[in-house]
Symmetry: D2
C-alpha cells in the first residue's frame, strides 16, 4: 500500500526530523523508538509499512532539506551520522518539496495545492495521500459567516479569501480526495464548512495539536489525582522554549491558542478546573530542548495540603516526529477502510482532540488499540485493496 | 451491614489518622477527599457505609489515642479542631484497643488474638470483621519449611514460633473467620500455609504495601513512557522521610523489603528494568511530610536523550488513611459476596499486589471498577445478607 | 535607647508577623531565628535592644490586630500558641494603630501623619522613631516636574497632591525628624525632592524592596557563576504566590515594578544580562507559602551546555518580618550616629538597593558588618546619647 | 615562563578535556570560559601564559589520546570540531605520556617517576613543572606509623611499599623539585611525612578534591542561610553519575572518601551539621552529565518551616578541566615566588581544602584575589626569574 505523506511546512523541524527518521528506519539505520504504531498492541497489518511511505510537501521557505537536517544534527536533535548516510534519499524528497502557493485569490491558491497533490499521487502511483499540517501555528481567525457551511464558503471563495491557510490546505486536501491530519493548534478542518467538505469527499481527518510534552504528562497525572479522589487546588506551569516554533509562539495570538489547548486536559479529566495557568515563554538560547516545569498543589484526607512538581526536559521535534509517522499510517488505513469525517479514535496523539472523547491517556490508549484491531478486522473481511496489500 | 475494622498497629500514624477521619466523616465534619470508594465509579451499594464501620485494634505501645491524635495535629497531619471535636468518639475506640498479645508460645498468642477478634465481633454484633495490618514493617523472615503447607505449619506451631508477627495475625484472622488486609510490605498471608488456611476458612484477603507516593506516580508515568514507545534508560529515586515508619525503615532489613516493592512497577509496566535504584533515607527532622525525588532519563526518536524529574511532597499518613477505609469496605463486601482467598482486583491500592495483575494504575482502576460493579450485581441476585443490608 | 517603629501598613501580614515576633522575643517565647542583627558579627552595642522597640502604625483597613494574627496562625505563618500568649501585649500595640489619614489635600494628609508620629514619640518618650513602609506595593507614578526638587514639590503641595502615598509618608517622616525605611518597591524617598528633604532634616533612610526569596538566592548563585567564569545564557523564573500582597501584585502595574527589581541583581553581578524573565503569578490557593522556580542554563569550558534549576518554597512574611526588625534597629542606630540621607550600607536587605553598591550578597554582608562595627566605634567615641544608652 | 603540567591520570576524562582545551585556547579556537585565572580580578602578570604550558603525564591505561578525545566528543563533553582541528598538537602531547611506573619496590617506582619528571623538564627547557593528580580516586589507606615523619617513611621505603599511589607521586614530585596539586580526594601530600618533604624541597602544593558541582553550590547556599540567621534543619543530596570516575566511586571505599569531603562545607559554614547525607550513586547510562539533587529544609522566624531544592545538571569534566589549568598556573607562580608547603589560598578550588580556611566561596574568592595580587607585587619587587618572564 504505497502511501503519500504530504507535509505542509515540509522544511520545518518536525517535518524534517520525521523525514530523516523514516528514511533511516527504511534503511535499517535506526530503531523505531517513539513510534507508537510499532508497539505490539498496535502493529496492525492494515497499516502501510514505513517503507511504503513517500514524502513530499509545501513550505514558504526554501532552505534545502539537507541544510535543515544538518542544523538539526548540530542542535542535537538528529544524529549527524544519519544525515550524512542519507544524502541521496534526502535528495529524492527534496525533489518533491514545492513552494507554498500564494496569490491574491484563495480559490486559485487552493487549485494549485490540489494540482500539487494530484501530481504527487500520480507521479508515484500512490494508493492514497495523507496531508499533514506541521506548518507554523496560526493566530485564531476572526469569526466569519462563510465558515458556517459549504455553500456559504464556496460563495465567499468566489470573491475573496475567507480561510486561514491551514483551512485552505484542508479544503484542498479534501478536494483532491486526500485525508488530512492537523498536528498544529491551527484551525484546519475545524470549520463546519470544511468538515462538511470532508464528509462529501468521503475522506477522514484527525487533529488537533500533537501532544508531546507537558500535556502528555498532565494526561496521566491528572487522572491519577482523579482516581485517588485527591483534590487538585492549583496547577501552574511554565514552558521555556527556543527554536523555530518557539519564536512563532512568542506572538501573543498564537500563544493564546496553544495555552488554551494545554489547559483543557485538566478540566476534562478532573471534572473541575484548578486555579493556575500554563505559560509559554520563548527564550532563544534555550534552543530545541524545551523545559517545562509544573507545580501541582492538592489536598488529601481531612484537607491536608500536599504538592508535586515536575520538570520535563524534552526535544519537541524528536517527540513529535514519530507521532507524525504514526498518524499518517493510521489515517491512511482509516481512509482505506472507508472512514469519513473526524477520527476521534486518534485522540491519544492530540492536546485538543476532535469529538467527545476521554482526555485521560490510558483511556485514549484503549480506544486507539481497539481502533487498530478494528482496522485489521475490516481488512480480513475484504476491504478494497486487501489483495494488493 | 455493621463491619468491624481491627487495626494491627492501632495506635500508629496511619491507624489513628484513619480512625479520626472515619469518625469525622460520620459526624459530617469532613469531606471524603482521598476516599476512592466515594467516587461515583465505585460507590457500590454492596459496600458497608462509612457510618457502619466500628474500630478496634492491637498495638505494642500504650500511647493514648487522643495523645497520638494531638501529636498528629501538631505535625499538620490532622486538623486540631477535628481532634478536639471528637474526644468522646475517640474514647469509644480507645476502649476497643488491646495490647498486642505476647508470650513464649506463638500458638497461644494466636489464640489470644482470635479471642480478641471474636469478642470484638460479638460485643458489637458485627456482621463481619476485617483485620488490617498497619503495624511497623517487619524484616523478611528466614525461609522455613513450615511455611510451605498448613499441616507442616500446624505441626511447627505445636512446638515453636514459626511465623513472623504479620503472619500470626493473618493466621488468627482466618481462624476467627475474619478477612485480612496487609497494608505493609510484611509477610502476612503470603506464606503458602497461611494462604491455604484462608481458603479453608472461606475468607478473602488483600495486600501488599499501600501505594501512596512515589510508586503511585511511577504507576502512571512508566505506562506513559511505554505507551509512547519511549525507551527509559535510568530511573533513580530518593525518598526522604522522618516520622515513626521512617525510623523503622532505617533498619536495613525492613528498608530492603520496601525498596524492592517500589521497583517492581517499572519492570512490570515497561517490560524491562531500567538502570537505577530507589533509596529510602530516614531523616528525623523531615517529619511526616515525605519528599521523594525521581530522575528519569529516556531516549526518543533516533536516540535523542531526554529527561524528566519530579518531586513529590506528601503526607504519607494522610495519603494512606482513606485507602485503609476503602480497603476495609471493599474486602468486607467481597467477604459477604462469598469471595475466598486473594483479591487481585484490589491491586490498585498496592505497591506489591497479589496475583498476576497489571501494574499500570489505569488498568488496575478498570479492574477495580468492574469488581465494584460485580459486587452490586451479586447482591441484587441475592447474596446472604442482601435483605438486611 | 527607646525606639519607635511606626509601620505604614501596620495591619498587613509582614507588619503583624514582625509585631508578634518582637513581642514574643521580648517575652522570651521564641528564638531570634532570621534576625540578622542577632548574629555575632552584627550584634553591635549601638543597636537598640529588641526589648526597647515600641510599635505603632497606620493602615487603611481596620481588621483588629489579633484577628489578623489569628488568621496568620491559621495559615501556618505564626504559631497559634504565641498569638494566644500575647493577647495583652497585642492590645497595647492595637492602641497605637491609627487609620491612614485621607483627604483631598495631600498637604493636610501629611500634616496629620506628622502629628501622629510626633504624638507617638512624645506619648512613649521615645529617643527616635523609624517609619517603615510595609504597605501594599504602589504602581510607578507618572513623571512630574514637582518631583525634581523640594521647592517645586512644596509649591505643588500648596495646590495639589503630587506624591504617591509612599512618598507622602517619607515626606511626613522627614518633616517629623524620623528616619524612614522602604521595605516595598514603591517610590518612597526615591524622588529627588523627598531625598533633599531628608538631608535637610538630617535623617537617614533605607530601601528598596525587602530581599526575601528568589532574589536572595540569585544574589549568591549569580556571583557563583561569575566567580567561576561560567557564562550564564538564560535565567528564567516563575513566582507563584497567593495571600494579600500576591493579590495586589496581580495588578500589572505593581507587578512590573516588582519584576524589574527582581532582574537587576543578574545584570549587576554577572556584568551582562542573560536571556529570560522573572514572572510573578498570583494563584489565590497557593496561600502564604510562595513557590519560586528558576531555570539557569549556562555554558562551561569549550561551550559545554549545562543547567541548574531550583525551587524555593518560602513563607514571605516569615522571611520578611525579622528583617524589618533588623532594619529598624540599624536605621535607628545610624540616625543616632548622625547619619543623613541614603544608607547604601544596608543593601544586604534589599532587592533594589540605594546607591552604587555591590549586588553580590557576600559583598553586601561585608559592608554591613563594617557598618555595624562602625556604629560601635562612633559610639565609644561619644555620640549624643552614648551616656544614656 | 615555560611551565610543565604533568598529569597523573593523563589519559582520563579531566586530563584530556584540559589538554584539548589548553591546545584549543592556544590556537585561538575557543574562549576561556570556566578559566578563573582569565577573570580581570585574577589576571596576574606573574602567571605563566596558557600558551606557555607544556603537557605530559602518566597513566596505567594506553588508550590513545585522540581516541579518548573522540570518545569525549561523542559524549558531548568536547566539540568534535576541536578534536579534529588539533590532531597534530595532540600527537605532541601523546609523545609525552608515559606508562605509570610499576614494580615490587615502591622506592624504585618513585625513582622512575622522578626520572620521567626531570626528563620532561629538561627535554622542554621548562622553568618548572607542576604535577597534577587527576587519576582515579583511591581508597583511604590504612594508618601506618611510617606516614608520621620523613625519617620513618624513608626507612619504610627502604624495605616496603608504605605509600598509596597518590602519595608516591607527591613524594616523587617533591624529590624532583616539582610542585604538586591534588585534584582528587586521595591522600597525596596529606601525610605528615610527605608534607615534610615538600617543605624540605622548598616546593608548594595544593589540594584536595576539585569543587565542581553540588559542593560548589553548597558553598554559596549554606553561607546564605548563615548570613540570614536561618536554621538549616536537614540537607540531603543524591548525586547520580556515570562515566569513568563514577564507576570508580561505586567502590564503597572511594565513595566514602568523596561523600565525607562533600559534607564538610556545611559544618564549616553553618557552624553546626544539619541532619541528612550526601549520596553518590553510579548509574552507567547517566553518562558524563551528572545530576545532583539536594533538598534543604530550614526554619525561619518563629520556627516557620520552609524548604528549597535544586537540581544541578553538569558535565564534571568540563567543569574540572579549566580549574586544572588555573591550578597549574597559580601553583607554578607560587613556586616561582618562593612559596613552600601548603597553599591554603587556593581553597576556592577544593571541596576539602588544606589548612584552616573559610569554606564560604565568597571568602575563598577574596583570599584568592589577594593571593593573585600578591604574586604580582612580589614579582615587581624582583623575584628570581622576573627578568626572563
Ligand atoms: N514539536 C512539537 O512537539 C509540536 C507539538 C505540537 C504541535 N506542534 C506544531 O507543529 C508545527 C511545526 O512545528 P516545528 O517545530 O516544526 O516548527 P518550524 O517553525 O520548525 O516549522 C514550521 C514550518 O512551516 C513553514 N510554514 C509557515 N507557514 C507556512 C505556510 N503557510 N505554508 C507552508 N509552510 C509554512 C515554515 O516555513 C517552517 O518551515 C507548529 O505549528 C507547532 O506548533 C509541534
Ligand atoms: N503511610 C503510608 O503511606 C504507608 C504506605 C505503605 C505502607 N505503609 C505501612 O504501614 C505501616 C504503618 O505505618 P505508620 O506510618 O502508621 O507507622 P507507625 O510506626 O506510626 O505505626 C505502626 C504501629 O504499629 C505498632 N506495632 C509495631 N509492632 C506491632 C505488633 N507486633 N503488633 C501490633 N502493633 C505493632 C507500633 O507500636 C505503631 O504504633 C508501616 O508498616 C508502613 O510501612 C504505610
Ligand atoms: N513579604 C515579603 O517577603 C516582602 C518582600 C519584599 C517586599 N514586600 C512588600 O511589603 C509590603 C507588605 O507586604 P504584605 O505581605 O504584608 O502585604 P499585605 O497586603 O498583607 O499588607 C499591606 C498592608 O498595607 C495596607 N495599606 C495599603 N495601602 C495603605 C496606605 N496607603 N496606607 C497605609 N496602609 C496601607 C493594607 O491595608 C495592608 O494591611 C508589600 O508592598 C510587599 O510587596 C514584602
Ligand atoms: N570531574 C570532576 O568534576 C572532578 C571533581 C573532583 C575530583 N575529581 C577527581 O579527578 C579524578 C579524575 O576524574 P576523571 O573523571 O578524569 O576520571 P577518569 O576515570 O576518566 O580518569 C582517571 C585516570 O586515571 C588513571 N589512573 C588510575 N590509576 C592510576 C595510577 N595509579 N597512575 C596513573 N594513572 C592512573 C586511569 O587509567 C584514568 O585514565 C578522579 O579522582 C575524580 O574523583 C574530578
Ligand atoms: Na524540583
Ligand atoms: Na526540579
Amino acid at each position: 500500500m504505497r502511501t503519500g505523506v504530504w507535509l505542509v511546512g515540509g522544511r520545518g523541524s518536525v517535518a524534517v526530523t520525521s523525514t530523516v527518521g523514516a528514511l533511516a528506519l527504511r534503511a535499517g539505520l535506526a530503531e523505531p523508538t517513539g513510534c507508537v504504531t510499532e508497539l505490539p498492541a498496535l502493529r496492525a497489518a492494515a497499516l502501510p509499512a514505513l517503507a511504503d511511505l513517500v514524502f513530499g510537501g509545501h513550505d514558504v521557505v526554501t532552505t534545502p532539506l539537507t541544510k535543515k537536517a544538518e542544523a538539526l544534527a548540530e542542535a542535537g536533535v538528529l544524529p549527524a551520522r544519519l544525515v550524512a548516510a542519507l544524502t541521496e534519499e534526502l535528495a529524492t524528497v527534496e525533489a518533491e518539496l514545492r513552494p507554498a502557493p500564494t496569490g491574491e485569490r484563495q480559490a486559485s491558491v487552493i487549485e494549485e495545492i490540489v494540482a500539487d497533490l494530484t501530481g504527487f499521487r500520480e507521479r508515484h502511483g500512490l494508493d492514497r495521500v495523507v496531508v499533514v499540517n506541521v506548518s507554523s501555528t496560526e493566530p485564531v481567525p476572526a469569526a466569519d459567516p462563510a465558515h458556517a457551511d459549504l455553500a456559504a464558503l464556496d460563495a465567499a471563495l468566489a470573491v475573496g479569501s475567507p480561510l486561514p491557510p491551514s483551512s485552505a490546505y484542508a479544503y484542498a486536501a479534501f478536494t483532491a480526495g486526500c485525508s488530512y491530519v492537523d498536528f498544529t493548534p491551527s484551525t484546519g478542518a475545524r470549520l463546519p464548512a470544511v468538515a462538511e467538505l470532508a464528509r462529501r469527499a468521503g475522506v477522514p481527518y484527525a487533529g488537533h495539536d500533537g501532544k508531546t510534552g507537558e500535556t502528555l504528562v498532565k494526561s496521566v497525572l491528572a487522572p491519577m489525582f482523579a482516581m485517588r479522589n485527591l483534590k487538585v487546588r492549583t496547577w501552574s506551569g511554565l514552558n521555556l522554549l527556543g527554536g523555530g516554533d518557539g519564536a512563532n509562539l512568542a506572538d501573543p495570538a498564537a500563544n493564546a491558542a496553544k495555552s488554551a489547548s494545554k489547559q483543557r486536559v485538566l478540566g476534562e479529566t478532573l471534572g473541575y478546573l484548578p486555579q493556575g495557568n500554563t505559560r509559554i515563554e520563548y527564550v532563544d538560547d534555550i534552543g530545541d530542548f524545551k523545559t517545562a516545569w509544573d507545580l501541582v498543589t492538592f489536598s488529601g484526607f481531612l484537607g491536608t495540603a500536599m504538592r508535586m512538581e515536575f520538570s520535563w526536559h524534552g526535544c519537541d521535534s524528536a517527540l513529535a516526529a514519530p507521532l507524525l509517522l504514526d498518524l499518517a499510517r493510521l489515517t491512511a488505513a482509516a481512509h482505506r477502510a472507508g472512514r469519513t469525517g473526524p477520527l476521534p479514535e486518534l485522540a491519544f496523539f492530540f492536546k485538543d482532540p476532535l469529538g467527545e472523547v476521554p482526555h485521560a491517556l490510558a483511556d485514549q490508549w484503549g480506544i486507539l488499540c481497539a481502533f487498530a484491531r478494528g482496522l485489521d478486522a475490516d481488512r480480513t473481511e475484504g476491504t478494497p485493496d486487501a489483495v494488493a496489500a
